[in-house]
C-alpha cells in the first residue's frame, strides 16, 4: 500500500516539479547493436517509467555532438576510443555524463573473410592466402588484395573517417611498414565499409580491412581477425604496435538528464551487457530477417534474469506486463500498420543483384576497366595542364561563350578553389564529372531516340527514368558498390545511372517535338530514316537535347559529391570528412569550391543550349 502510493506520488511530484516528463531522445548511430539497445532501453523507459522517447539517426560522431548539445539525450553505445576527440571534451566540459559501461570485451582490427585463408569447397573457392595469420603476413599477399585504383599495391579498407581506429590504423600502417605494399583506403562511411565486405563476400573475392565486433557482419559472415602483438600499453603508445584493446562501450547521457529524468539515470547506471550477449542478439536478428521487435522481445524473454536486475521489481513487472500482453507493444494496433504483414520487395532486388554479380563478374570487371581507363585518361590530361593555363582556358571559355565579365568571374572562382588548397580535388571531381557526362550522353541519346520512335519503349522507360531521378541519390550507390566495390569506378557508375535519365528524357522530348510535317517533308523527298534523324530530327531537337545535357551535367556534379561516401576522391570527400568532424571551416571551403565549379559548368553548358535555340 505504502509502496504503491509512493510510486504514484513520485510520479505526481515529478510532474508538478518539472511540468511534463520530457521526451527522451536516443541517438542511433546506424548499426544494429545500438538499435537493439535503444529499443530495449526505450521499452523499459516508456513502459516502466512513463517517459516518451524518440530516436535520431546520425553517424557516431554526430550522435555524440548531438549529445553534447542536448539534441540527443542518451547514447547507448558510445565507442569511446573511436570518437575520442568529440567524446572526451564533452566529458571534460561536463556536457555529457558517462553512466555505465555497456560492455568492453569486444574486438576490432583487420579482418579477412575466412575463405581467403582456408578456401571454401562448397562455393569452389581455393585458398588465396593460406599462410595468412597475422597482420605481418600481409605484404606476402599484396597481389591478392590488389587495389583497382592503384594495381601496384594492395588495398586495406580502413576505418570510417574520424573514427579513432582510423588514426590507429594509419599509424599502424607506418609502424609495420605496410604503406609500401598497401594503399590505405578510406571507405567514406561505415555503411559503405559494410557494403564492400558484403560485395566481396558474395563474389568470393579477397578482402582485407578494418572491422569490429559485435556486428551482424561478424555474426553472418565467417570472418577471421588477423593476429597482432598482444595488447601492451607501451607498444600501444608507440605507434599502436599491438592489437586493439577492448574498447569501452559506454552509456552516456546529456548532463540535463540528471535533472530532468533522475529515475532513468538510475536505471541506465545499472545497464550492462557483454559482447557475447550482443553477438547472440545480432545473430538472432540476422536469422529473423532483421526484425528488431522480435529480437528485443526475445531478449526480454531470454535474459529476464539480467535485465530485471537493472530496475526495481515494480518497474520490471510493468515492463513484463506490457511485453507479454497481446495488446501491448507487440500487439495489433490500428494506429500502426500491422507488423506481421510484410512485403519484402527489397529481398528480390538483392537476390537479382547478387545473381548478377555472380554470373556477370567478367562483364563488370571489363566495364570497370573501361570506366577506369576513361577517368584516368581524362584526369591525366587535366593534370598535365598547368594551373595558370587551366584558369586562362576557363577565362577564354567564359569570354567566348558568354562575355568577358563572366570569363573574369570564372577565372577568379577557379583561382579561389586553388587558393583554398583544393585544386587537385577539383581536378579529380571534374574528371569524374566529365567521364560521367560523356558516358551518359553516349548511352542517353540513342536510348532517347529509340524511346521517341516507339511508344511502347517510352511507356516502359518512363517509370524507370522517374525512378532513377526521384530515388534518393544515395540509393544508387548501393548497386554501384556491389558491382564495383568502393572507389572511383562505382562513383562514376552511380553518377551515370543518376545523370543519364535527364539526357534520355530530353532527347526523347526533343525528337517528339519535331513537327510531324517536317518529318513527313523529309521522308517525302526520299530520305532514309538515318537521313531524317541526322539531317532533321537531331538538329531540330538540339536545343532541347542541350538543355538535357545541362541537367545531366548538374546531376553528375551533385552525384559526384554524394559518391564520396563510397570512397570517390575529390571535393566530395572533403565535404564528407567535414560533416563527420562537424568542421565548419573545412565544410565551407570544400562546399564553396563545389558551388564555384557547379556555377561554371552550369553557365557554360546552359549557354551552349541557348545558342542552339537561336536556329
Amino acid at each position: 500500500m505504502q509502496f504503491n502510493f509512493n510510486i504514484y506520488s513520485y510520479a505526481e511530484s515529478s510532474d508538478s516539479h518539472k511540468g511534463k516528463k520530457p521526451k527522451l531522445v536516443f541517438g542511433d548511430a546506424g548499426w544494429d547493436s545500438i538499435r537493439i539497445h535503444n529499443k530495449i532501453a526505450r521499452i523499459i523507459i516508456e513502459e516502466g517509467y512513463g517517459y516518451k522517447t524518440d530516436e535520431i539517426t546520425g553517424s557516431s560522431p554526430i550522435v555524440i555532438k548531438g549529445l553534447r548539445q542536448g539534441d540527443i539525450d542518451i547514447s547507448m553505445e558510445s565507442w569511446t576510443d573511436n570518437i575520442a576527440d568529440v567524446y572526451e571534451p564533452g566529458i571534460e566540459k561536463g556536457e555529457i555524463v558517462e553512466l555505465s559501461v555497456n560492455y568492453d570485451d569486444n574486438a576490432q582490427g583487420l579482418y579477412v573473410p575466412t575463405y581467403v585463408i582456408e578456401g571454401d569447397s562448397e562455393r569452389g573457392i581455393e585458398p588465396m592466402a593460406p599462410d595468412l595469420k597475422s597482420i605481418k603476413d600481409l605484404p606476402k599477399y599484396k597481389e591478392v588484395f590488389k587495389d583497382p585504383d592503384n594495381p601496384s599495391k594492395g588495398r586495406i579498407y580502413g576505418a570510417p573517417p574520424n573514427w579513432f581506429s582510423d588514426e590507429v590504423l594509419r599509424t599502424k600502417m607506418e609502424t609495420y611498414d605496410l604503406n609500401k605494399d598497401f594503399e590505405y583506403f578510406n571507405p567514406g562511411s561505415d555503411t559503405s565499409l559494410n557494403t564492400s565486405i558484403v560485395s566481396a563476400y558474395e563474389k568470393g573475392e579477397p578482402w582485407v580491412g578494418y572491422y569490429w565486433d559485435p556486428t551482424w557482419i561478424i555474426g553472418k559472415y565467417d570472418m577471421t581477425l588477423l593476429k597482432d602483438e598482444p595488447y601492451d600499453k607501451e607498444k600501444w603508445e608507440n605507434g599502436f604496435a599491438c592489437e586493439f584493446p577492448g574498447v569501452r562501450v559506454t552509456i552516456a547521457v546529456n548532463k540535463d538528464m540528471l535533472e530532468t529524468a533522475p529515475d532513468v539515470v538510475e536505471f541506465l547506471k545499472n545497464y550492462e551487457t557483454t559482447t557475447e550477449i550482443n553477438s547472440k542478439l545480432l545473430a538472432y536478428m540476422q536469422d529473423n530477417d532483421g526484425d528488431l521487435d522480435k529480437t528485443v522481445k526475445w531478449f526480454f524473454d531470454e535474459y529476464e534474469e539480467l535485465w530485471t536486475k537493472w530496475v526495481s521489481e515494480d518497474i520490471a513487472n510493468k515492463v513484463k506486463e506490457s511485453t507479454d500482453s497481446k495488446g501491448g507493444k507487440f500487439g495489433l494496433s490500428f494506429k500502426e500498420f500491422p507488423k506481421n504483414f510484410n512485403i519484402e520487395l527489397g529481398i528480390y532486388v538483392e537476390k537479382l543483384v547478387s545473381w548478377l554479380t555472380r554470373h556477370f563478374q567478367g562483364f563488370f570487371d571489363g566495364l570497370a576497366a573501361i570506366i577506369n581507363w576513361i577517368v584516368s585518361g581524362i584526369r591525366s590530361i587535366l593534370v598535365t595542364i598547368p594551373w595558370f593555363i587551366f584558369i586562362l582556358l576557363i577565362f577564354l571559355l567564359g569570354w567566348k561563350m558568354i562575355n568577358w565579365k563572366s570569363g573574369i568571374i570564372y577565372a577568379i572562382m577557379m583561382f579561389l578553389i586553388g587558393g583554398l588548397g583544393l585544386w587537385n580535388e577539383m581536378i579529380f571531381t571534374l574528371s569524374i564529372v566529365i567521364t560521367g557526362v560523356l558516358i551518359s550522353i553516349i548511352i542517353g541519346i540513342p536510348i532517347g531516340i529509340h524511346m521517341s520512335y516507339n511508344d511502347k519503349v517510352e511507356a516502359f522507360m518512363k517509370p524507370i527514368l522517374d525512378g532513377a531521378q526521384t530515388m534518393p541519390s544515395f540509393v544508387h550507390l548501393i548497386p554501384a558498390m556491389i558491382f564495383f566495390g568502393l572507389g572511383t569506378v562505382p562513383a562514376v557508375f552511380a553518377t551515370i545511372i543518376y545523370s543519364t535519365a535527364p539526357c534520355i528524357r530530353f532527347t526523347n522530348l526533343g525528337i517528339r517535338e519535331v513537327p510531324k510535317e517536317m518529318k513527313e517533308a523529309a521522308y517525302s523527298y526520299g530520305s532514309s530514316s538515318w537521313q531524317v534523324l541526322t539531317k532533321v530530327e537531331l538538329p531540330q531537337a538540339m536545343p532541347t537535347i542541350m538543355a538535357g545535357i545541362n541537367q545531366t551535367t548538374m546531376a553528375a556534379m551533385s552525384m559526384v559529391v554524394i559518391s564520396s561516401m563510397i570512397g570517390s576522391k575529390g571535393l566530395g570527400e572533403n565535404v564528407l570528412i567535414a560533416i563527420n568532424r562537424t568542421d565548419v571551416a573545412m565544410g565551407f571551403d570544400s562546399g564553396i569550391s563545389i558551388v564555384f565549379l557547379a556555377i561554371i559548368i552550369d553557365r557554360i553548358t546552359q549557354r551552349i543550349s541557348n545558342e542552339h535555340k537561336d536556329i
Partner: protein, 396 residues
C-alpha cells in the same frame, strides 16, 4: 490523255488490328459501326480514281473526311491497308524501302499545309534538300535551287532562315523545294489554307501560271470549295472516307449528286466558277467582211438584233456594225462594211470567269465576243446572260 495515277479500291484504317476493320468493310458496315464494333478507324474507304497526266486533280472535303490520308497514300507516307496505287503503270504499294526511296526522289514532291520547312536550314538549303538526298553535288544542286527560288519570286532571299519569311513566302519556299526536284507529280496538301485570303488568291493565280508552263500532274487537297473549283480540272468531293462525287467543277455545280454536295456547293461564289465558255451563245449572226452592208442588214433582220460582228474569212474578228450605220450607208449608196466598222466592243477568252467579265458587261454597248488565241470568234455573251449566268449556266 494518259492516266498518270490510278488508285484502285484504296482502304486505309487506323488502329492496331486492320484485319478486323477490313472484315467489317466486307460485311458492309459503315465507318461508325466499325469504330464501335472493332475499335478501328476507317480513314479511307474503298476509294478509286485516276489522275490524268498534266491535270490538276482536286480532292475536297471537310476535316476528317480522309483527304489528307489519301494524298499520303500516294507517296506511302501512309501505307494503304489494302488496294492499289499505280503510278506510271507500276503498283507502288509493295515497293521495298529502296524502291520507295527512289520513287519519292524521282517521281513526286509534296507541299504541306504548314509548309514543312526545315527551320534549322536556310531557304537555299531547304530548296536543295531533295537534291541533297539524291546526292546531287553541292554546286549543281545550289544552282538548280537558286533557279527554283527565282521561279517562285524569292530571288535574294536564299540565305534567310525560314522563320524570317512571311507565311506566303514560306509556302513559296515549299513550292520551290518541290519544283527543284523536277518531279512529274506534285502533291499539295492544303498548301494555301494557312495563308490569308489575299495572299491565297495570288498564290492560286501563280500556281495556275506555273502549271500552264510546267504541265505537272498535280493532286491538290483543299477544304475550300472556291479554291477547288478555281484550280481543279476535275474535283473529287470526299465524305467519311469515300468519294461522293467526281467530275469537272461545272458538272458538280450543275448536277450535285446528293444533298450533301448541294449543301457543299451552296456557298460557292458562282462568278468564280462559271466561265465565259459556259454562258456564251453560238454566234449565229455574223457577217463576213466582204459581204457588204445589205447582207449585214438582212442578218440583223433575221436574228432580230441591232448590231452584228464582222469577221474575215478565217473567222477572225474585225469589228462590229450597227443597224443605224448600215441603213445610213445604203442611203448614201455605199456597200462596204469596212468604213462603218466600230471597234468599241470587248473581247474575252473562253476560260475567263464571270467574275472578271462583270466590269466589261457593265460598260459595253454590245455583246462581249469570246475569241480564241487567234482572235477567231467562238461565241458571244449578251449582257443579260452575265447576270443570269450567276444563277444557272448554259442558259440555252
Amino acid at each position: 490523255m494518259t492516266e498518270k495515277i490510278i488508285v484502285e479500291n484504296l482502304v486505309k484504317t487506323f488502329g492496331s488490328r486492320p484485319k478486323l476493320a477490313l472484315e467489317g468493310l466486307k460485311k458492309g458496315w459503315n465507318k461508325k459501326e466499325i469504330l464501335k464494333k472493332t475499335g478501328q478507324t476507317i480513314g479511307v474507304n474503298k476509294v478509286s480514281f485516276s489522275v490524268d497526266e498534266g491535270e490538276i486533280f482536286v480532292i475536297i472535303g471537310l476535316s476528317g473526311s480522309g483527304k489528307s490520308t489519301i494524298i499520303r497514300c500516294l507517296n506511302l507516307l501512309n501505307k494503304p491497308t489494302s488496294g492499289n496505287v499505280i503510278v506510271d503503270g507500276e503498283n507502288i504499294v509493295n515497293y521495298d524501302k529502296n524502291s520507295l526511296r527512289e520513287f519519292r526522289q524521282e517521281k513526286m514532291a509534296m507541299v504541306f499545309q504548314q509548309f514543312g520547312l526545315f527551320t534549322h536550314m536556310t531557304v537555299l538549303e531547304n530548296v536543295a534538300y531533295g537534291l541533297e538526298i539524291k546526292k546531287v553535288d553541292k554546286e549543281k544542286r545550289e544552282k538548280i535551287a537558286i533557279d527554283a527560288i527565282e521561279e517562285v519570286g524569292l530571288k535574294g532571299w536564299e540565305h534567310k532562315m525560314p522563320n524570317e519569311l512571311s507565311g506566303g513566302m514560306q509556302q513559296r519556299v515549299g513550292l520551290a523545294r518541290a519544283l527543284a526536284n523536277d518531279p512529274d507529280i506534285l502533291l499539295m496538301d492544303e498548301p494555301f489554307s494557312a495563308l490569308d485570303p489575299l495572299i491565297r488568291r495570288d498564290m492560286q493565280i501563280e500556281l495556275l501560271d506555273l502549271q500552264s508552263r510546267l504541265k505537272k500532274t498535280i493532286v491538290f487537297i483543299t477544304h475550300d470549295i472556291n479554291e477547288a473549283f478555281k484550280l481543279g480540272d476535275r474535283v473529287a468531293v470526299m465524305r467519311d472516307g469515300s468519294i461522293v462525287q467526281m467530275g469537272t467543277p461545272e458538272e458538280i455545280l450543275n448536277n450535285p449528286s446528293d444533298e450533301y454536295i448541294e449543301d457543299f456547293v451552296k456557298d460557292i461564289d458562282r462568278t468564280k466558277v462559271v466561265r465565259a465558255k459556259d454562258i456564251m451563245k453560238r454566234p449565229n449572226a455574223i457577217v463576213s467582211l466582204n459581204a457588204g452592208v445589205r447582207v449585214a442588214i438582212k442578218e440583223m433582220q433575221v436574228n432580230d438584233i441591232s448590231s452584228v460582228f464582222v469577221v474575215d474569212k478565217n473567222r477572225k474578228i474585225q469589228g462590229i456594225v450597227t443597224i443605224d450605220d448600215c441603213i445610213e450607208s445604203v442611203k448614201n449608196n455605199k456597200s462596204s462594211l469596212k468604213e462603218i466598222l466600230k471597234q468599241d466592243y470587248y473581247t474575252t477568252k473562253e476560260d475567263v470567269y464571270i467574275e472578271d467579265l462583270i466590269d466589261k458587261g457593265v460598260k459595253t454597248k454590245y455583246p462581249i465576243v469570246v475569241v480564241d488565241n487567234e482572235e477567231r470568234v467562238l461565241g458571244i455573251i449578251v449582257r443579260t446572260s452575265i447576270l443570269t449566268g450567276l444563277l444557272t449556266t448554259n442558259g440555252d
